[in-house]
Every structure is written in structure tokens, then in C-alpha cells.
């Protein structure tokens, strides 16, 4: 019987350590991809390790709210921030302008999240619309799709971006 993530975390909290391996198998690949957007390989591996150890230790405190992946990502992001803070600003991969109200470590990770959320065709669409400042009709012509499709995809991409940014706070 295949357990969902909530069940696996509950099993882990109850002492079933084999559940941790299943969680790792499911989530380590996408976590690694996201972390690699902001971190070098050794750091990404360290953060992955600390993330799953934190999941193991913190499974008892998890209450199912329908978004276990978000819970996992928050742990990973916090571990990455800890690592970057320990390293100091010189060794972090940062843009020059930090986001206001956030330290440079958080900034790097949020940029990584946004980059991940904007990967793919929907992200391209938002870039054309807002960065290149094109109208819906112009975007439809560039992409070769109906205007209605452009509107609905833009709406979906904006919602995904909002959800991503909400998850970072």
C-alpha cells in the first residue's frame, strides 16, 4: 500500500525510520534541483542532508495541513539560510541588490524559488508580458496562441508566483 506524504511523516514520528527513506526518494530530487539554483554542489548536498535530518527530528511536530511539500521546502530553505549565514556574505552567490527587509541569505533563496516557479512556458509568458512590456495581443502573436489562452496562462502564472512568495514568508 502506497502511503501519502502525511502518512509517511506520521509513520516517521511514530518511529518507523524506513518512512524517511521513502520521503527522501520522493522529495530529494526536486529539493536538490531547487537548492542547486542558489548553492554549489557540496553546499546543496549538505543542506539536503540537514533537511532530512531535521525532518526526522521534527516529524513529531508536523500537523497535516494538506501541503507537506511546502513544510519540507520551508525546512530546506531554513537549513540553506543557516548554512549561508555561517559562511558569511563573501561566499554566498548573491545578486548585488538584496530584496528589502531580508538578509542576503534569504534573498538568494527567494530568487531561487522565483526562478524555479518561473521556469517553463508560463514563466516565459510572464517575462514577455511584464519585462518586455507587451500587450496581450502582441504576446498572443509572438507565441502563436489565442488571446484568451494568453490571459488564462498569465493568470495561472501569477497565482503560482503568489503562492511561491507566500510560502517564503
Amino acid at each position: 500500500m502506497v502511503m501519502d506524504d502525511d502518512e509517511l511523516i506520521a509513520a516517521l514520528a511514530a518511529g518507523d525510520e524506513t518512512a524517511l527513506h521513502e520521503l527522501f526518494t520522493r522529495h530529494a530530487p526536486w529539493l536538490a534541483a531547487r537548492l542547486r539554483a542558489a548553492l554549489a554542489v557540496p553546499d546543496a548536498e549538505d543542506v539536503l542532508q540537514e533537511t532530512f535530518l531535521a525532518i526526522w527530528k521534527g516529524a513529531g511536530a508536523y500537523t497535516p495541513q494538506g501541503r507537506p511539500q511546502a513544510w519540507i521546502w520551508v525546512i530546506a530553505r531554513n537549513q540553506a539560510a543557516l548554512l549561508l549565514r555561517r559562511r558569511g556574505p563573501d561566499t554566498a552567490q548573491l545578486d548585488e541588490i538584496p530584496l528589502p527587509g531580508l538578509d542576503p541569505a534569504e534573498t538568494a533563496l527567494i530568487r531561487a524559488e522565483i526562478a524555479a516557479a518561473l521556469a517553463g512556458p508560463d514563466g516565459d509568458l510572464l517575462r514577455i508580458m511584464y519585462v518586455q512590456d507587451r500587450s496581450v495581443a502582441e504576446v498572443a502573436a509572438i507565441l502563436g496562441v489565442p488571446a484568451g489562452t494568453v490571459k488564462s496562462r498569465a493568470h495561472r502564472a501569477r497565482r503560482m508566483l503568489q503562492a511561491t512568495l507566500r510560502g517564503t514568508r
Binding site: 527522501f24 530529494a28 530530487p29 526536486w30 554542489v41 546543496a44 548536498e45 535530518l53 511539500q69
Partner: protein
């Protein structure tokens, strides 16, 4: 190991970046999750014996159940026999060797299922056996102390046999670790026991006549030499290197 990429509904649909070694990461996670934390006794023993392996052998001695039962029966049995026996010094002198043989048998190739594997390890098999002897006597002495409140006979056994043998075997182990030689350690233990017995017998007056007579020295030396030889034989590596 293969780690399949997460399906789309789990957030990002990216595959794992090829340069992140997920196998290595999992091994590091597993190492922490599966790590066994040694108890205070094992940590102290590791420092004293200068060997985490010997310390582990010491604390796991009672958990190897069949050898533990056999050696406990041997140790209590020999102790009871010498308490009930004629009380001759020769019996007392031989007893540790008999106990050593009993423990060596209990934890030896016939009974210890992983004996051959242990014999191929860097930590000396003979010193492991000495370590087990200390564990057997020490734990049985504790049991004896607890039972002494209820029984005078057990008290006599504990104070007259188990506690002294715990001290003797601990001395043997300490010397073996320091000299890196089980034979030297066993010899030191036997010498300590012989001295203890003779001193006790002398003080109690039973040996006054025989000790002052030089004719008695040779038999006692011969007995001590036989005990030493018996202890070395008992701790021999069973047709192997040591």
C-alpha cells in the same frame, strides 16, 4: 542507488540535477539516523581500554546469551565447589585456571557463532576473551552482592570468590592492554591470585608450618606454574594465529 524524480504534483517537476550525489547524501542521513550512542559504561571502558572495540566486546558479553549462561554456571559452580571443598590452598590456586577454561570454552569456537570472524579482526582475540572474563566476573559479583543480603552462603561466595576474581581478571586485562599481550596479562593475573591466596592462608595461620618450611615452596611454585600454563592454554587461539 536510483532516486526517481518527483512527479509533477509534488511542486517542481525537475529531475535531480545530475551533479548532486543523492546516494552520498542518503548515506550521510542514514549514518545519523542509524547511529548507536554508546552508554556511559561503554564510553568509560573505551577510554580505559583504549579501544572502542574492546569496550563493545565488554558490554555485549551478557547479550551473547548461551555463552553467558555457560560461563555464569561455570563461575558459580567452581566458586561453590571450592567453598565446599577441603579448603586446601592447591584447590584455590587451580580454581582461576578452571574458570578461565570455562569462559574460554563458552566464548570459544564451539559456542561463539562469530568466533572465526572475530579471529580475523585487528583487536586481539585473546584480549577480547580476557575482557569477557572481566564482564562475567564483574556482573556475577554484582548479582552476588545483591543476593548476599538474603543468603550467607552467597555472601561467602561473593566476597571469597567473585569479587577477588573480578579484581584479578581486571588486573590481568589492564596489564594485557598496557603490554599489548594477553599472555603477559594472564600471567600477571595468575601471579596476583597466587600471592593473594598464599597471603590469606598465611595470615589465617593455616599455612604457618608449610610456609616456613622450604619444602613447600617447590610444590606451590609448581602449582603456580601449572596455573599459568593452564590459563595460557585456555586462552590459546584455537589452532590459529594470535
Amino acid at each position: 542507488m536510483n532516486f526517481p524524480s518527483a512527479p509533477d504534483q509534488r511542486g517542481s517537476s525537475h529531475d535531480s540535477p545530475g551533479d548532486v550525489d543523492l546516494g552520498r547524501v542518503w548515506t550521510a542521513v542514514a549514518a545519523e539516523v542509524w547511529r548507536r550512542s554508546p552508554g556511559w559504561a561503554e564510553r568509560a571502558a573505551a577510554r580505559l581500554l583504549r579501544s572502542p572495540g574492546l569496550a563493545r566486546a565488554l558490554v555485549t558479553t551478557p547479550s551473547l546469551l548461551l555463552p553467558w549462561l555457560i560461563s555464569t554456571v561455570a563461575v558459580f559452580g567452581i566458586g561453590a565447589l571450592i567453598r565446599l571443598g577441603p579448603g586446601q590452598p592447591a584447590v584455590w590456586l587451580v580454581a582461576p585456571a578452571v574458570a578461565a577454561i570455562g569462559i574460554a570454552f563458552a566464548y570459544g569456537p564451539g559456542i561463539d557463532p562469530a568466533w572465526e570472524l572475530s579471529a580475523s579482526c585487528a583487536v586481539s582475540d585473546r584480549i577480547v576473551l580476557l575482557t569477557r572474563a572481566v564482564a562475567v566476573f564483574a556482573l556475577n559479583a554484582v548479582l552476588g552482592l545483591l543476593a548476599s543480603a538474603a543468603s550467607g552462603a552467597v555472601a561467602a561466595l561473593t566476597f571469597g570468590w567473585l569479587l577477588p576474581m573480578t579484581a584479578v581478571s581486571a588486573l590481568a586485562l589492564a596489564v594485557a592492554v598496557a603490554a599489548r599481550s594477553a599472555i603477559v596479562g594472564a600471567g600477571a593475573g595468575v601471579a596476583a591470585w597466587v600471592i593473594t591466596v598464599l597471603a590469606t592462608e598465611t595470615v589465617s595461620g593455616r599455612l604457618t608450618v608449610s610456609v616456613t618450611s622450604s619444602n613447600a615452596y617447590l610444590p606451590y611454585l609448581a602449582t603456580a606454574a601449572c596455573c599459568a600454563a593452564a590459563a595460557v592454554y585456555a586462552l590459546r587461539p584455537q589452532r590459529g594465529f594470535q
